[in-house]
């Protein structure tokens, strides 16, 4: 696929940090995975992950944004907290060694392998209404991540809905913050075949929207599938 550098705020140049320092490859063999599923572009995925299991999220064609929220399977009111996670690790971006914390301060999952380098935790998920603000009031009917989240929760057996949607992780997405505090959306640093692997620290519900939608330049306006593998 073609990639193009297109920032949402091109007047704010900023240096590119070295995000290759934490690249760690996995020793797990996909042939041994107990679960192997491809999420088509633009679709949701809702799945449980038991403590100790490993989830690999594979960017099949490059520069995807896999919007992900983790919930405690025992008490879904306990969920991934972007602010607790980045504050505790003293850094904005997620990569190998990052421990994802819940809103109760408990470790939910640890990133144990990462061939991409860093993942966004500030950019959130697109919604019909936020697309109106970001692009045009007429964009409301377009496909978006929050629709995915809402339909996945509505059709699940969990008693969860919009109230349970919180700031998510965007795996493979590059959203740098400059030292001056500017937030920019950059062309992805991911590529076909790159992956991130997480080990569950508690029994989890994983909610994914395999976005982005077609207004976002981060994947050259070409949403592609993602592959999910789980090992015991």
């Amino acid at each position: 696929m073609t990639t193009q550098t297109q920032t949402s705020n091109p007047t704010q140049p900023h240096p590119v940090a070295d995000f290759t320092a934490n690249l760690v490859e996995s020793r797990l063999d996909p042939a041994d995975a107990l679960y192997d599923h491809e999420i088509p572009a633009g679709e949701p995925w809702l799945h449980e992950l038991r403590a100790g299991q490993t989830l690999r999220i594979l960017d099949l064609m490059g520069n995807q944004a896999v919007d992900t929220i983790f919930y405690s399977a025992r008490d879904p009111a306990e969920r991934y907290s972007a602010v607790d996670t980045i504050r505790a690790q003293g850094s904005l971006y997620l990569t190998t060694g990052s421990v994802l914390l819940s809103n109760d301060g408990n470790p939910m999952a640890t990133i144990v392998a990462d061939t991409c380098g860093r993942h966004d935790t500030l950019g959130g998920a697109c919604a019909a209404e936020s697309n109106q603000v970001r692009y045009a009031l007429e964009k409301r009917p377009m496909h978006n991540c929050r629709d995915n989240y809402l339909i996945a929760l509505a059709e699940s057996s969990y008693d969860m809905g919009k109230r349970d949607l919180t700031a998510n992780i965007n795996f493979f997405m590059n959203v740098p913050v400059t030292p001056e505090g500017h937030l920019t959306f950059e062309d992805g640093i991911s590529d076909a075949g790159k992956y991130v692997e997480l080990q569950a620290e508690m029994d989890l519900i994983v909610l994914v929207s395999n976005c982005p939608q077609l207004n976002n330049p981060c994947n050259a306006y070409n949403p592609t599938p993602a592959r999910m593998l789980i090992w015991d």
């Binding site: 995000f19 972007a82 850094s91 301060g105 019909a128 919009k162 505090g181």
Partner: protein
């Protein structure tokens, strides 16, 4: 940025929020809330909800994305998750308010300041931002599911190119203030616990003066409305909500 002193005839309520305390209030359209750091070095953590439908609430990601910023100051607005504006920042003498560090919890306070229970310390017992948010939100039927990323007024945390965070001590000076104009009837939930990355080890939470006052609606050339095209659309969405278009 300098701002005018409040016109006493416009003031409807003033209150002192002591350090490490909680507060909530519905600021209706046509009113604004001024937060003033009385002594300097304050931190005021804030969450915003649509007063009539509290499922609609402040959304950190949408606020930052729409305005291409990681911090808030005058000219910025606080977006809800429904593409509408809850509060506009119409004045700010401080220049930088943190949006992505959350609040302290009991473990953090215990680790940094030690133990001080009510049984021994009486009302000087140690509190933390998370519990004060949950207490105040509980009064409105809100709980852990509603505890989303908040704003920390008066606190500055910048990051370097690698994303490493750096808290700036002494960022807010005595008398610094920030003015929040309600664009919708907004439930404001506050606490004044120290910022979770403030390295101070002496427990000295700072008070914040609260003032609610009448304010004119945003004009067509309002700085918040015209600061970026996204905010123009945010104001339009908010006007549609109020059936004004």
């Amino acid at each position: 940025m300098t701002t005018e002193p409040l016109d006493p005839s416009r003031s409807v309520h003033t209150e002192l929020l002591p350090g490490a305390r909680n507060w909530s209030f519905i600021i209706r359209r046509g009113f604004a809330l001024r937060l003033t750091d009385r002594r300097g070095g304050a931190n005021c953590s804030a969450l915003f909800f649509n007063a009539h439908e509290k499922l609609e609430r402040y959304n950190m990601a949408d606020t930052l994305k729409a305005q291409h910023t990681a911090f808030l100051t005058a000219g910025h607005v606080c977006y809800s998750d429904m593409g509408r504006i809850l509060m506009s920042i119409t004045a700010d003498t401080c220049g930088w308010h943190d949006t992505f560090c959350g609040v302290s919890d009991a473990a953090l306070v215990r680790e940094r300041f030690g133990e001080a229970r009510y049984q021994e310390a009486r009302n000087a017992f140690l509190r933390n931002g998370r519990e004060l948010f949950l207490i105040e939100m509980g009064k409105w039927g809100l709980g852990r599911r509603d505890l989303v990323p908040n704003v920390n007024f008066f606190s500055k945390v910048a990051v370097d190119e690698a994303g490493v965070m750096r808290f700036e001590p002494g960022h807010s000076k005595p008398g610094d203030h920030v003015d929040l104009r309600a664009e919708m009837d907004t439930l404001v939930v506050l606490n004044t616990c120290p910022h979770p990355l403030d390295p101070a080890t002496e427990w000295s939470p700072k008070p914040v003066d609260l003032a609610i006052y009448r304010i004119d609606p945003a004009a067509e050339d309002d700085p918040c409305r015209i600061s970026c095209p996204e905010n123009g659309r945010g104001f339009a969405n908010t006007a549609i909500y109020h059936c004004q278009l």
